[in-house]
């Protein structure tokens, strides 16, 4: 595997040289491998959004640099522009970016900016719409006539349609009902399985991260607090609690059971694992 995105000693100050100067992220070193599903968690204000906006060159590092496929993105104007298409960034509440007359045109905005011809654009728009579960009848509608969840999906499709090497989603499920959340998470999963591309997901839901991520990055006060696999991270529950974070709900249940003296394992991070563990422990005792 090779790194798609690398951050080298990255620091970003907001309001540099003013009274309001704050270091949003400090000395970040990070490598995102090709094909990886990186989950980013961290308390609000820990610098997650600031970090990911460096990956496609929207924010310029105060010090340090970002490498895409080994090349510094700040090299030239062209390389920054190329980064926009290589790394598809979908902001929190992306529905406010919709502006075209039809959903189709809006999804096509990115591919058109890339200078693709009409056939290729059409193929990408339809593919992206299919990923997010918007059928052809939606494509002709005005984006402003959609429901909140549908708008969200259309907006995400607008980023997916650029077919970026790495797709970054900043809390894509925030503020949606459970059905809407599930829908979004499941198409992210499908998207990754089908394309095999890198996905970075920022989320406040430990459950979602545990379910989807192959690697987890924990941010705390602008710094990398931990990085590792789902098991490595969520086994350190004490440290996570101290940072104002949490473990998946199912892990909490098993921690509680253990405390009550039930002989269960506590390295349980998804509902499926939990189910199996319960069967293992109680299934046997029922038999006995």
């Amino acid at each position: 595997m090779s790194a798609v995105i690398e951050a080298v000693n990255l620091t970003h100050l907001y309001g540099e040289k003013t009274l309001f100067e704050t270091a949003a992220i400090k000395n970040i070193d990070l490598a995102v491998e090709n094909g990886e599903f990186l989950g980013i968690i961290g308390h609000t204000g820990s610098g997650k959004s600031t970090l990911i906006q460096h990956f496609n060159g929207l924010l310029k590092p105060t010090t340090g640099k970002i490498l895409l496929d080994g090349k510094d993105i700040a090299e030239s104007k062209e390389s920054i522009r190329a980064a926009r298409f290589k790394v598809g960034l979908c902001f929190q509440y992306p529905e406010y970016q919709l502006f075209e007359e039809t959903v189709y045109k809006d999804i096509a905005f990115g591919p058109k900016n890339m200078g693709l011809d009409d056939d290729e654009t059409d193929r990408r728009v339809r593919r992206a719409a299919r990923f997010v579960g918007l059928s052809d009848s939606y494509l002709k509608k005005s984006p402003f006539d959609l429901s909140g969840g549908e708008k969200r999906r259309a907006a995400i499709a607008g980023v997916i349609a650029m077919e970026p090497e790495a797709l970054i989603l900043d809390e894509p499920a925030a503020g949606l009902d459970p059905r809407g959340r599930d829908m979004i998470l499941s198409f992210i999963k499908e998207y990754r399985q089908e394309t095999g591309r890198t996905v970075i997901l920022v989320s406040h839901s430990m459950d979602d991260i545990a379910k989807l991520a192959t690697k987890v990055l924990v941010m705390n006060k602008g710094e990398v607090a931990m990085i590792g696999t789902v098991d490595e991270i969520f086994s350190r529950s004490e440290e996570l609690f101290k940072m104002g974070l949490n473990v998946p709900q199912v892990t909490k249940i098993f921690l509680g059971l253990k405390e009550k003296g039930v002989p269960v394992r506590t390295d349980i991070y998804t509902n499926e694992q939990g189910c199996r563990e319960l069967l293992r422990v109680f299934g046997r005792s029922v038999k006995e």
């Binding site: 309001g15 009274l19 906006q53 496609n56 929207l58 522009r81 926009r84 298409f85 598809g88 960034l89 979908c90 902001f91 992306p94 406010y96 970016q97 919709l98 502006f99 905005f109 990115g110 900016n113 890339m114 402003f144 607008g158 980023v159 650029m162």
Partner: protein, 272 residues
């Protein structure tokens, strides 16, 4: 970048100037401006410069910020200086070429005018540096409230002003957000000719207007839900009280007025 645009450049602080009653502050600032215009020689103007400097220090406004507020009027300052140097008649000739003569009186006048404008800007900047925009509009509303007699809707005007001020930062943030989102989809806002740039604004402006209208509706609903029905019979959450500081400030300003009049009479005037 876009965030650097500040309207109502309030600098948080706890100085006596910050704590003054904004009504008194506005009136005192007006008096200050009038007094500055009354100055006729360097003695009285010097006194005002000293006073402005003292107030700046008292308010804890960094010199850098003060200079920043002068930047927009730089052109006017230079212009005033040049005009006064060349177009003042009388006095001793210092320099003469072609049709232009420079006299000592011209130079004095130029310096005098520049110092006067600097003082003026610094003084009024102090008002906005030490008072939040909402406090300012609130105070303006109260100062203008006698106009109600003439059926002028002072409260409505003030409310509109307050809301507008309140939403400037919100809109700026919104523009930044939308710009970033569209840039992430490869929108090119920086290159191309006029038409191309104007077209590039569409993806920004449409979402901006939509969200601005949505906000306006929401705010109107929220206000109605709380039974807002204009200014009649409304009481205030923040009462404004004239305190000792305000009385002292008024007294100092009155004293300045007296001193300036005295200095004007006692010393020879520089300007007509």
């Amino acid at each position: 970048m876009i965030r650097d645009i500040t309207i109502g450049q309030y600098l948080p602080g706890k100085s006596a100037l910050h704590k003054m009653d904004p009504r008194v502050k506005i009136i005192v600032t007006f008096a200050f401006i009038i007094v500055i215009f009354m100055c006729k020689n360097f003695w009285s103007l010097g006194l005002m410069v000293l006073f402005t400097a003292l107030c700046t220090i008292l308010a804890g406004v960094p010199m850098r910020m003060m200079l920043k507020s002068l930047r927009p009027v730089m052109v006017i300052l230079v212009f005033t200086g040049i005009l006064n140097i060349f177009y003042t008649s009388g006095g001793n000739k210092l320099l003469e070429f072609w049709k232009i003569t420079v006299t000592d009186k011209g130079i004095y006048t130029a310096v005098f005018m520049i110092v006067r404008i600097v003082c003026l800007i610094a003084g009024s900047s102090l008002l906005t540096y030490t008072t939040t925009p909402t406090m300012l509009t609130d105070a303006i509303e109260r100062i203008l409230s006698p106009l109600k007699v003439f059926k002028i809707q002072v409260h409505t005007l003030a409310m509109m002003m307050t809301l507008a001020l309140r939403f400037i930062p919100t809109l700026i943030e919104e523009i930044e957000r939308i710009m970033n989102a569209q840039k992430a989809r490869g929108a090119d806002l920086e290159s191309g000719g006029f038409i191309k740039r104007a077209k590039a604004l569409i993806p920004i402006l449409i979402p901006l207007f939509i969200s601005a209208f949505r906000r306006a509706y929401e705010l109107a609903f929220a206000m109605e839900c709380r039974c807002y029905r204009g200014g009649e019979g409304r009481t205030r959450m923040k009462q404004m009280k004239v305190k000792a500081t305000d009385i002292v400030a008024s007294a100092v300003t009155a004293a300045l007025l007296g001193a300036v009049i005295f200095l004007n009479i006692y010393f020879k005037p520089v300007i007509g």
